[in-house]
């Protein structure tokens, strides 16, 4: 265990940024929090979490895959992949840390997504325990402990100190690069912080939410539930939930005609969109009900069915606060299991 006083945070950032790119959660002019490249003077946000999740680091919203140069009647294929540099992400919350392992199950499974893998290998995650979780937080439902956030290095902020505990090789390597600013210490303060957080966790309004009634084996009964209609009827079909979600990983691959060639890129897609997985025969999910059901079935049934019971949600609560009509996974879970209890 290492520690550094809060007032030395800027020095830590500065030293980190000398070695590799550093991202920290900070406030935009409009007051929204997002991960930004650190530069002198940039301050850590007071917001509990960022609007967009940390998945962007490994699975960006758009990414060029390949290019084609068209000259007259000839076409040439261009490799547009750039060498990714090492980067450090500071202050990732426990939920987002867990989301990476969920994304790994998709992108690192065979066939490996080399674009994703490349980024994953270059990123070091410094997680931060949640001292003041929001009412929308329900990571506990999925067995995530926001008091011990994980990642390459996990951190606690308490009593004017940041406590750092490396958990991986990459974490150790990072500690080495900034060791000049750190002092070694015992684990008592961090443990005390963990206890405080545990106490808060119990008070959270969604603390009682469980995954009971969901999972890979509940396919048939949940799919045919009559409640989907009512749940989906207000859904606008926008992609807000999908795009702020740390685990949504659907993408579309498109060609962009640049006038002198083609740029083939992939971009996030949303199962909420009317043209999601549309093929020449049309869109297999014709109404918003089916598209809505797809999103939640995927997270709560299909994903665990294919991934040893691991759910496709980390309880970050972003969709709870961002959905334009305030429909969300918690309401869906509660509603679907309403009669059961």
């Amino acid at each position: 265990m290492y520690r550094i006083p809060e007032q030395n945070l800027d020095r830590l950032f500065s030293l980190t940024a000398e070695k590799s790119k550093l991202y920290i959660p900070a406030d935009t002019a409009a007051g929204t929090a997002q991960f930004m490249p650190w530069k002198e003077g940039l301050k850590l946000t007071d917001a509990h979490n960022t609007v967009r999740s940390a998945k962007d680091f490994f699975f960006p919203q758009t990414e060029n895959l390949v290019g084609f140069r068209v000259e007259g009647k000839s076409i040439e294929v261009i490799d547009v992949r750039e060498e990714t540099e090492d980067f450090v992400v500071f202050g990732v919350r426990a939920c987002d840390v867990r989301s990476f392992s969920i994304l790994d199950k998709v992108f690192l499974a065979d066939p490996v997504d080399t674009y994703y893998k490349n980024r994953r290998e270059h990123g070091t995650i410094l997680s931060l325990a949640c001292n003041m979780p929001e009412e929308t937080c329900f990571c506990g439902t999925f067995g995530i402990d926001c008091a011990a956030p994980g990642g390459d290095v996990q951190m606690w902020q308490t009593d004017g100190w940041f406590y750092l505990e490396p958990l991986t090789e990459k974490g150790n390597a990072y500690i080495d690069t900034v060791s000049s600013l750190l002092e070694e210490c015992g684990g008592e303060a961090a443990a005390e912080c963990r206890r405080a957080i545990d106490a808060v966790k119990k008070k959270l309004p969604l603390a009682g939410l469980t995954t009971e009634g969901f999972g890979g084996d509940k396919m048939a009964e949940l799919f045919d539930s009559e409640k989907w209609g009512e749940l989906a009827e207000a859904c606008l079909g926008c992609g807000t939930c999908t795009f702020v979600c740390p685990t949504c990983q659907c993408y579309d691959i498109r060609d962009f005609n640049t006038g002198h060639g083609i740029s083939r890129f992939r971009c996030w897609d949303s199962c909420m969109y009317s043209d999601f997985t549309k093929m020449s025969a049309g869109q297999p999910r014709l109404t918003q009900l089916e598209r809505f059901r797809q999103r939640f079935m995927h997270k709560l049934v299909y994903f665990p069915a294919n991934n040893d019971g691991e759910f496709g949600c980390v309880g970050c609560g972003r969709c709870l606060s961002k959905c334009p009509i305030s429909m969300n996974i918690v309401k869906v879970m509660k509603n679907l299991t309403e009669g059961d209890q």
Partner: protein, 324 residues
Amino acid sequence: MQEIMKKRASELLLDGTVSRVIGWKAGDFVYDITPAVFESAEEIEKDFVYTAFCGANLSKYLVKESKKPGKTLVFLKPCDSYSFAQLVKEHRVNRDSVYAVAVECRGKADVDKIRDCGVKGICGISEENGTLTVDTVYGDKTLPLSEVMLEKCASCKTRKHAVYDELLGEEGEEVADCDRFGKVRELESMTPEERYEFWRGELSRCIRCNACRNVCPACTCEKCVFDNDNSGIAQKAAADSFEENMFHIIRAFHVAGRCTDCGECTRVCPQKIPLHLLNRKFIKDINELYGDYQAGADPDTRPPLTDFRTTDAEPSIVYRRGEK
């Protein structure tokens, strides 16, 4: 108010005047209210709410719901009623199959603004005489409603409905001192460079979630040009700053003269982009160049972009702006 509305809605459902009611449904945290269709008095009794957090404009749901058999009751706040009237005007909603109930509104709260006041872990909120008491995981807090109102309510233009079949509560007045163009004027007085920086800063946060479009009561296209691969301008992601500009300019242009300034776009934007400033720019320009026009205010007038005067200003008026 809520109880009056519940009573009336139940009555109308029971006597068969209406077959369904579009209203607001309670959530888990007081503020997370979902628009919903109620088909029985029991459902109304159980979940119907009308609180300071019923900001959502229900009129757009009528595009779908009004096609169902029987009449659909919809609750409309003053600003929502303009959207409704505009939808009727554009034949998107069949007026005869809607039973419009006007409800009074004194402004709705924005939970994001409450959070911006440093409030975390909200478990409950109660309103009394314009003061909100917020119960949080970390203790209680009180806030005046007027300070945490939605942008659209802070710059409310009218508390009077455009159209309705029945009014519940008291009809309000137009807000005489409404200065909804203040920020637009401020932007206009900046240099082009400053304006460019401002908008790049705002629009660069866009994640193209389409929430603004999908919530907009003027955006009811069967298929949006941005979703139509044959349109030549379909976009799925904001892959380049141009695409952000293109989407927002064209969207604002498509609703120009039809936008009632209901403010939903800004309310739902997860990235807090002040999208209403684009629409209001068009509204302000239209008012100044072609005479005051309020979309949805009446059933007959031609929207400004499908109308003209032979004496209209020339486009060069734009170049002369800012010159003295």
